[in-house]
């Protein structure tokens, strides 16, 4: 009897509560601002087809593979196609997905989708992003299932993970200039830098105590560097220049995953790159 009650409680507690979408209602939307959110959030970098280039990256057909300790995740089709993609969703369902990691059917998404960072997004940005989404091309490529073995293929268990790890407070509590606020918003929310640059524990949760302290590369080779001030000793202008061009202060050139990141940062205003640099330098 006690065990059944415990199981029922566990089932309830790991369940899916969709987002309260009343704050989203009745807002004007700006697809041009949505495009900036789209670029900063890196949606196309993961959800475009493998090897897509240029404008083809706006076709969010899915198919890229992301290896991890838990299996290989395959990015789904999130183009505005009504059947193969998310074209039939409402704004509320989109917000639930992005900020809470919940599907319209109430299933948990795996945190390979960085909703642990996106949960910090401003509601207006979500509204603008959804407006921009409607302008993207629809694609009929079917999504492929993830290659994730037992027990990680039990989506309900992600509910436990969410209880353990989702934290809607900022990591860096103090951001007392507009530039630092913007830098924090870009790093902790949209550009989700922490998802790669922060070490994780055995269950894959970010170790916020060592925020941006570096981590092994999930594909197994090499390390993702620490961005903390003791380790990243570049000047703010050098950080901003790297995010624009990929050139380090010694004029080595970035490779690997940072290429996609820099491609996005290069399209943002210079003030955004400077804000990220300022935030990194202000880390304790």
């Amino acid at each position: 009897m006690g065990l059944a009650a415990l199981a029922a409680a566990a089932f309830f507690v790991t369940g899916a509560t969709p987002i309260d979408d009343s704050p989203l209602a009745g807002r004007d939307s700006d697809p041009a601002k949505g495009e900036t959110v789209f670029i900063a959030s890196g949606c196309a970098s993961c959800h475009a087809a493998p090897d897509a280039k240029g404008d083809a990256k706006l076709i969010l057909a899915g198919g890229q593979r992301f290896e991890s300790d838990f299996g290989t995740f395959i990015a789904p089709n999130i183009s505005p196609h009504p059947h193969a993609g998310i074209g039939s969703w409402t704004l509320g369902e989109f917000a639930s997905a992005v900020k809470k990691g919940l599907s319209p059917e109430g299933q948990h998404y795996y945190p390979a989708f960085p909703y642990g960072s996106y949960l910090h997004m401003d509601d207006q940005d979500v509204v603008d992003l959804w407006a921009y989404w409607q302008t993207l091309p629809a694609d009929a490529t079917p999504s492929q299932p993830h290659e994730v073995g037992f027990p990680f293929n039990i989506r309900r268990s992600v509910g436990v993970w969410k209880l353990l790890y989702l934290d809607d407070s900022w990591v860096v509590q103090i951001a007392d200039t507009p530039e630092l606020e913007r830098g924090r918003y870009l790093v902790e929310a949209l550009a989700h830098c922490g998802e790669c640059h922060t070490p994780r524990d055995a269950l894959g949760g970010m170790n916020r105590a060592n925020w941006l302290g570096g981590a092994p590369n999930p594909t197994g080779r090499g390390n993702i560097p620490s961005l903390r001030p003791a380790d990243l000793t570049w000047e703010p202008t050098e950080i901003a220049y790297y995010l624009e061009t990929g050139f380090t202060p010694d004029f080595d050139s970035a490779g690997g995953h940072m290429v996609a990141v820099i491609e996005n940062f290069a399209k943002l205003p210079a003030s955004d790159r400077q804000a990220v640099a300022a935030y990194l330098k202000a880390l304790p």
Partner: protein
Amino acid sequence: MKKHLTFAVAFAALACGTAAYAQSDFSGQLKARQGQFRIMAINLGIIGDMAQGKSEYNAEAAQAAANTLVAVSMIQQAPMWPAGSDNMATEGTRAQPNIWEQNDDFLAKWGDFGTAAKAIQAAAAGGVEGLGPVMGQVGGACKACHDTYRAPAN
């Protein structure tokens, strides 16, 4: 008997020769190709520092650096990338095996560096404002190749 001895000696010489060839290290080729990237970095730095305002713009110095980049882009790559000098087969390189598996694409990306270098060459003496965009172009060429063909640093 003499014929067998000759044959045996000839065979032994061939075998030793083959073995010596298979064990040749690629340190010369590795130094050469890594050196070419260092020359690129030094000359990109001359122009990039001007573009960022870290150093005074100097048209002659910028032109000389750009001319050097074009000169590097004309270096024949094939002799420096012998089969077996990838990071799975030898030490001291970040060159991935796909350079050889997708060699046409690799050489095409090397060609893209040349195109970007010529753009810098055309803009170098025309004032500091023109340097930013062409540095961006060459940065894109560097990243495109490193994205696929260079292993992580550690």
